[in-house]
């Protein structure tokens, strides 16, 4: 029994030959297990999907109301041919999952995207013992060590107050799924102030509310009267809105960006935002190492991002590590 029977790269995406299914396929396939609802992982058109029940609402947003989806509880075992499959919390976004596959006593876990920092919007990452661990590696260098979220929220609130003092809107760019809701939920622990939302975030925030996540009150920017003064208000918008005509309504606004890439000063300056906030839904370097160690895996395969450093470092620590080249070449800037 070799691991290649449980996982191997294919043009369509990671494939499990023994169970004849794909994980997060790029193109339509007969049977897919999808780890989470980000657009580059959840693609419509496949015959049947297995997803974590906690993310079903978000998955329907992405895959369509008519898609054939089976929702699985975390830890619930189900069969794909001879393979026993189960989904386990990845702590990345609401409903995100690691995929555990077992055949003849051999266990492979595909992490999907994950993080180890606490997040009030989703179940925490669960270490799953395995023989082969396929880990993501978006931030695979020791310079990526996330600050405590509490301090980031301190900075965010201070910025918001400062903008209010200057009579400017504070426009924070962040990804519409996951990051936005995490920030809104973290803010809820500290303030009851209302936050304004870009249209692209409305349905996703609603999905989180339906899933029982507590967030600060929100109001769509589009419901504000034309010519409304947003001075002193906090506005959340996806990065694609930066520099668009949509921004004109805010006049002279202070802009911020919430991303793991903001850890590096050069990135902060290059992006041209006034402020950078280090918030990531991916594992930092200590998180990657801890997860590899806790998996107990003797073999580690590394996907995403610049895997060279992590692979070499693990090898020097005596781990059988290698890159797993997937067709998905994600833009390094998109996943932070």
């Amino acid at each position: 029994m070799r691991s290649e029977e449980l996982i191997q790269p294919r043009p369509e995406g990671p494939y499990c030959p023994a169970g004849d299914f794909y994980i997060d396929p790029l193109r339509p396939v007969a049977r897919a297990v999808v780890t989470h609802a980000h657009a580059d992982h959840a693609r419509s058109g496949s015959g049947h999907y297995d997803v974590a029940a906690a993310g079903l609402g978000l998955m329907r947003e992405r895959l369509g109301q008519d898609a054939a989806i089976t929702a699985r509880g975390y830890g619930e075992a189900f069969r794909m041919g001879p393979v026993t499959v189960s989904l386990h919390p990845a702590g990345h976004v609401l409903g995100s999952a690691q995929v555990r596959m077992e055949l003849d006593g051999r266990v492979v876990v595909v992490s999907g995207d994950y993080k180890r920092d606490p997040d009030p919007t989703c179940a925490p990452f669960e270490p799953v013992p395995c023989d082969l661990f396929v880990t993501e590696c978006t931030f695979g260098l020791p310079v990526y060590r996330w600050p405590p979220m509490e301090r980031v929220i301190d900075d965010l609130l201070a910025w918001w107050d400062d903008c209010a003092r200057r009579g400017m809107p504070a426009v924070l760019f962040c990804y519409a799924l996951g990051k936005a809701q995490r920030i809104l939920a973290e803010l809820a622990a500290r303030t009851g102030r209302t936050v304004h939302l870009h249209g692209a975030m409305l349905r996703l925030v609603e999905q989180y509310r339906q899933a029982g996540v507590t967030m600060v009150p929100t109001v769509p920017v589009s419901e504000s009267a034309r010519g409304r003064d947003f001075a002193g208000e906090l506005v959340l918008a996806p990065p694609s809105a930066a520099g668009s005509t949509w921004m004109k309504r805010f006049g002279k606004a202070s802009t911020g960006f919430a991303s793991g890439w903001m850890q590096i000063r050069g990135n902060r300056h290059r992006r041209g935002y006034d402020r950078g906030f280090v918030v990531s839904d991916h594992a930092d370097w200590p998180g990657l190492l801890a997860s590899v160690a806790q998996s107990g895996a003797r073999q580690v395969r590394v996907t995403h991002g610049d895997s060279d450093a992590l692979v070499r470092y693990l090898r020097e620590q005596g781990v059988d590590a290698a890159p797993l080249h997937l067709p998905r070449e994600r833009d390094a800037e998109s996943g932070g």
């Binding site: 850890q263 590096i264 470092y313």
Partner: protein, 531 residues
């Protein structure tokens, strides 16, 4: 240092000059005078000594983090800044040195660090890092390497000081110039009301700046209404002699006193007080033309030049205007009148004071022909100044034009790329270009600028996908992309395989329409070097 780290973060986190000024003024109000004095020193670009080498810092980091050297190096490449890499890689310290005031670091701890042997210095650095939060680790490292750049101009610091203490900016600029020692007493003196207006005697007049001439010079009208001079490639400066005392100010409002003693001596020997506008040039007396700008840089860097440097690289003040004479402000007079008085004043002056000659060409075509010889004269082209015009303030179009020579251009192939630093960290932005030597491509230029952000991002992706070899941070790429480079001159060089290097290379455009075989040949460049 906590408060200073907060100020640094505030300055680093905004692009608004207003917000920066408020942040500095706010800090000055809150901070104890002993710390505030040091903050002013650092913000105003005061000199910091380098107290530890980059090698020592790298070693201290590798030990403290227990990471292998290659991973420290890879991290450094990704971040582009060693001080920042250290702050990011190490776990946050316990904060036990959080409250140590800035002046204690600057006056006690850091000077003591410099006196330790390398072994103990590395251990001390590690102890400090483990006792400070990341923001302060970064700042401390910057102070230790003497490379703290805060991104505020001296003018902005002066404005913030003015907002803080209510004294006028020119008074504060004056008090801050020269050797300002960061002590509470000096800070109090900065903020004290003015006793007299004596400080104004030291100040230069605002410079009149020329605009680039884009139109046909014939559109300026009669050639005889215009004075034509060489456009000198040196440092624009005002030489001020008042009450027999000399001051030298660069256009960047930097005091250059002491750096060019031959100029000051010549000014002291003049027949009377005067304020001259002109250009500092390193001079080649044998052929009576400037030395390359590179030579002048040796002099700028030296606060007190030694006799050997003075002999090898003599400096001249090429005067082209007289703004004040015997106490009278001449700026309202026409240029012709000012020039006449300047010529008379300099008639018997010592050699270091020269009069920028009026170029003798009867009409525009003749002047255009003369302009073709600018490079031989080691100048950047011509200046055209309206003879009837007063000396204006700032960049006012219409009376002073710079008619620069066009740069050379060449088509070259991208051969190597390296990640940039600071704002461009993590992106491949430093490029090496080559031209054909027979059927081989040899490097002749490195260029950093000329592409916009979108092109840089596109080229960065291309480089990552077309890397053929890696040498540390440097990547060799497939020789496929052609770029048009502009440059000023060709010089012999030992740094490039080709034996030549081009001066001031910059990218004009990405020639996606050209194939590598269309790139220029080394022989053509060699001809320019000899020509």
């Amino acid at each position: 240092m906590q408060r200073f780290a907060g100020l640094y973060a505030a300055l680093d986190g905004t692009t608004s000059t207003l917000a920066k000024r408020e942040a500095i003024a706010g800090y000055l109000r809150d901070a104890p005078a002993a710390d505030a004095a040091w903050a002013v020193h650092v913000l105003a670009g005061g000199k910091l000594r380098r107290l530890a080498t980059a090698t020592e810092l790298r070693r201290a980091l590798a030990e403290a983090s227990s990471l292998p050297d290659w991973l420290v190096e890879t991290s450094h490449q990704q971040v582009g800044d060693l001080a920042e890499t250290i702050a990011l890689v190490l776990p946050p310290g316990d904060g036990s040195l959080d409250d140590r005031p800035l002046h204690a670091w600057m006056e006690h701890d850091l000077p003591a660090l410099a006196k330790l042997d390398p072994e103990r210095r590395v251990a001390t650095l590690q102890a400090w890092w483990s006792a400070l939060p990341p923001g302060q680790v970064f700042l401390l490292n910057k102070l230790i390497t003497g490379a703290l750049r805060v991104g505020v101009s001296q003018r902005l610091v002066v404005q913030a000081l003015s907002a803080w203490c209510g004294q006028p900016t020119d008074l504060i600029a004056h008090r801050l110039s020269g050797e300002w020692r960061p002590t509470p007493a000096a800070l109090a003196a900065l903020a004290a009301p003015a006793q007299t207006d004596e400080h104004l005697a030291d100040r230069p007049y605002p410079f009149f700046l020329a605009s680039p001439l884009e139109a046909d010079p014939a559109s300026l009208g009669d050639r005889h209404d215009w004075l034509a001079e060489w456009k000198w490639d040196g440092i624009r400066a005002q030489l001020i002699r008042r009450d027999g005392r000399c001051r030298l100010w660069s256009r960047g409002e930097e005091r250059l006193d002491g750096r060019f003693p031959e100029i000051e001596q010549a000014a002291a020997a003049l027949g009377g007080d005067a304020v001259l506008d002109g250009e500092l040039l390193a001079w080649d007396a044998d052929v009576d033309r400037p030395q390359p700008f590179l030579a002048l840089q040796k002099r700028i860097g030296k606060r007190l030049p030694g006799p050997k440097l003075l002999a090898n690289t003599p400096v001249r003040f090429m005067a082209y205007d007289l703004l004040e004479h015997a106490g009278a402000d001449l700026r309202g007079q026409p240029l012709d009148a000012r020039r006449a008085r300047l010529a008379a004043l300099l008639a018997g002056a010592d050699a270091p004071l020269m009069l920028s000659p009026a170029l003798d060409a009867p009409d525009w075509p003749a002047l255009a022909a003369l302009r073709q010889h600018s490079r031989e004269a080691r100048t950047e082209g011509l200046m055209l100044k309206r003879r009837a015009a007063p000396y204006r303030v700032g960049r006012k179009r219409g009376d002073w034009w710079k008619w620069k020579i066009d740069p050379h251009t060449l088509d070259a192939v991208l051969l190597y790329a390296q990640p940039g630093h600071g704002r461009r960290a993590g992106l491949f932005t430093d490029y090496s270009f080559g031209v054909w030597d027979g059927d081989e491509l040899v490097t002749v230029a490195k260029a950093y600028s000329g592409l916009d952000d979108a092109e840089i991002a596109r080229l960065d992706r291309w480089i990552r996908a077309h890397t053929t070899e890696r040498f540390g941070p440097v990547r060799a790429v497939e020789p496929l992309q052609v770029f048009e480079l502009a440059f000023e001159a060709v010089q012999p060089s030992g740094r490039h395989k080709s034996g030549v290097a081009v001066r001031f290379p910059r990218i004009v455009r990405w020639r996606t329409d050209k194939k590598p075989t269309d790139a220029d040949r080394l022989d053509d460049l060699r001809r320019l070097a000899t020509g």
